[in-house]
């Protein structure tokens, strides 16, 4: 499903070269739930961005869903991303559209037949417990609800892989627990999950395989 081999990512800040990831290698099997733990700046987001080809590695090999990610052409990048759901700390909902429209939007741009859109949107909203908020605008949602809407948007396409980049980072414990439960439900449905968090307590509570990043290096792979 995911395989990284000796991956380096170095950013050039003027003449200075700053390594964001140093010699990272690991493998994630299909159907696994893996927690990616590390402090802010440890390289979690960079690592996730490499997986959906938002960044290119400076060195090393990356394979996701059988795609040789660094070698992909533009059209293939789009193909890869169609199989990956991504959620962020900020939900990135479109402010001018309702929750329903936010979820429907991604289905529309991917050419989903019109008759399939409404049932799939409501299936996704039901899965995250937001059916009753379908007509609400993002500004009318709590942070927890916004994050759940973002999850609904990510799972409406039935992705094979879910990349969650600090989805609970700005939530209180109750809301965070709700989001984690939903992500676990998604995983239980067969989706492979890579869940990034800086919260050690949350990483431990997830009780899943945990990869720990420190200063861009993978220092621990346990569980």
């Amino acid at each position: 499903m995911i395989e990284l081999h000796r991956v380096w990512k170095v950013f050039a800040v003027g003449p200075v070269k700053v390594p964001a990831l140093s010699d990272v290698s690991f493998r994630v099997a299909k159907g696994e739930f893996v927690t990616l733990h590390g402090a802010s700046g440890a390289g979690k987001t960079t690592l996730l961005r490499l997986l959906y080809r938002e960044e290119l590695p400076t060195e090393g090999e990356i394979e996701v869903l059988d795609y040789d990610v660094p070698a992909l052409r533009v059209r293939e990048v789009a193909e890869l991303r169609r199989s990956i759901g991504v959620v962020f700390q900020d939900a990135k909902l479109l402010p001018g559209r309702t929750v329903y429209e936010n979820v429907a939007f991604v289905l529309r741009v991917l050419g989903t037949p019109r008759r399939e859109i409404t049932p799939r949107v409501f299936d996704a909203l039901r899965a995250v417990g937001l059916s009753s908020r379908a007509q609400a605008y993002p500004a009318q949602l709590s942070q927890g609800e916004a994050q759940r809407a973002a999850l609904a948007r990510a799972i409406a396409r039935n992705p094979l892989l879910l990349l969650a980049d600090e989805p609970t980072g700005s939530l209180d414990d109750t809301m965070a627990a709700e989001v984690v439960d939903i992500v676990k439900d998604i995983w239980a449905g067969g989706t492979t999950v890579l869940f990034a968090t800086h919260q050690a307590r949350l990483a431990a509570a997830l009780r899943q395989r945990t990869l720990t990043l420190v200063g861009g290096r993978l220092v621990k792979d346990e569980g």
């Binding site: 991303r81 990956i84 479109l94 939007f105």
Partner: protein, 294 residues
């Protein structure tokens, strides 16, 4: 999917707001200017063609020839290059024509002791003869006839009219091009504003793997829509101007250019203007795309 893309393009237009309106107005202005010049030029061209068909060269003869000599002279002139037809006008016929022109004052001509009008040849030109060089060559050849006293007529003024028409076309294209460039830049600005407003949507679209066509097409479509709306408005402006000004200008045009009525742009020119507007807008949208890619 196409409905969705058009919907997104319309949504983008609303987002661009005043800048989109400014772009549409500039396209309207540039195409109305271009169309206006074309309209004037087409009518001047029609007048030039009308007069070119009616151009005659008159060869005034020194003496009135006998019927046989006149027939032989007509045959000689007919054989010259650039000559389409030749009509012999006798002194008596010339006087008759003068009397007709004078109408109720025709008695003045009758009081003349002798017919002062010369016999002449009325020479009609072929298409080849109606070029300035062709006409000049023919006039030289006709002047060389031993029977010729004086040669009158020519097509220089018609050529000046035709040159004026070409000048109008060039000015029209120039003014239209300058305004079109302004329009393109405004459409580009409008599209760039839309891109800015849509950056989150574009980010989401790319993130979920939307085909590049779906990402780009609404931008191109909204530019093309601006162009099409501008072109339709330009044609509407031209129709209104033609309807209001046409009847008022026709008497003047009839007297000066000999045209009975002004004609509007041909249907294919109208279609060309609409196509040009759509392409202008599309080009503006495409330029904005380039900017973001850089």
């Amino acid at each position: 999917m196409l409905g969705f893309l058009f919907g997104e393009a319309l949504r983008d237009l609303r987002r661009a707001g005043r800048v989109a309106v400014a772009a549409i107005l500039l396209i309207t202005l540039s195409l109305a200017a271009l169309g206006g010049f074309w309209l004037v030029s087409a009518n001047v061209g029609q007048a030039a063609a009308h007069w070119r068909d009616r151009v005659r060269i008159i060869v005034y003869l020194k003496r009135e020839p006998s019927a046989d000599d006149a027939h032989a002279l007509v045959e000689r002139v007919l054989a010259m290059p650039g000559v389409g037809a030749v009509r012999y006008v006798s002194k008596a016929e010339a006087l008759g024509t003068l009397k007709q022109v004078l109408g109720k004052d025709a008695s003045v001509a009758e009081q003349l002791p002798a017919n002062p009008l010369p016999a002449s040849l009325e020479v009609t030109l072929t298409a080849e003869g109606t070029t300035p060089e062709g006409a000049r060559g023919l006039i030289a050849r006709l002047s060389g006839l031993s029977e010729a006293d004086e040669v009158g007529g020519g097509i220089d003024w018609i050529e000046r009219l035709a040159r004026g028409q070409r000048l109008l076309e060039v000015i029209g294209l120039g003014v239209g091009a300058v305004l079109a460039m302004a329009a393109i830049l405004t459409v580009t600005t409008a599209t760039t504003l839309v891109l800015h407003a849509r950056r989150q949507e574009l980010e989401i679209m790319r993130l979920v793997g939307a085909p590049e066509l779906v990402v780009r097409l609404p931008l191109l479509l909204q530019g093309m829509l601006q162009g099409l709306v501008g072109a339709v408005m330009a044609i509407w402006v031209l129709i209104v101007l033609y309807t209001i000004a046409g009847p008022r200008l026709e008497p003047l045009v009839s007297q000066t250019l000999g045209l009975e009525r002004l004609t509007f742009l041909r249907p294919q020119t109208v279609v060309a203007l609409m196509f040009a507007g759509t392409m202008l807008g599309g080009f503006g949208g495409w330029l904005a795309r380039g900017r973001t890619e850089r």
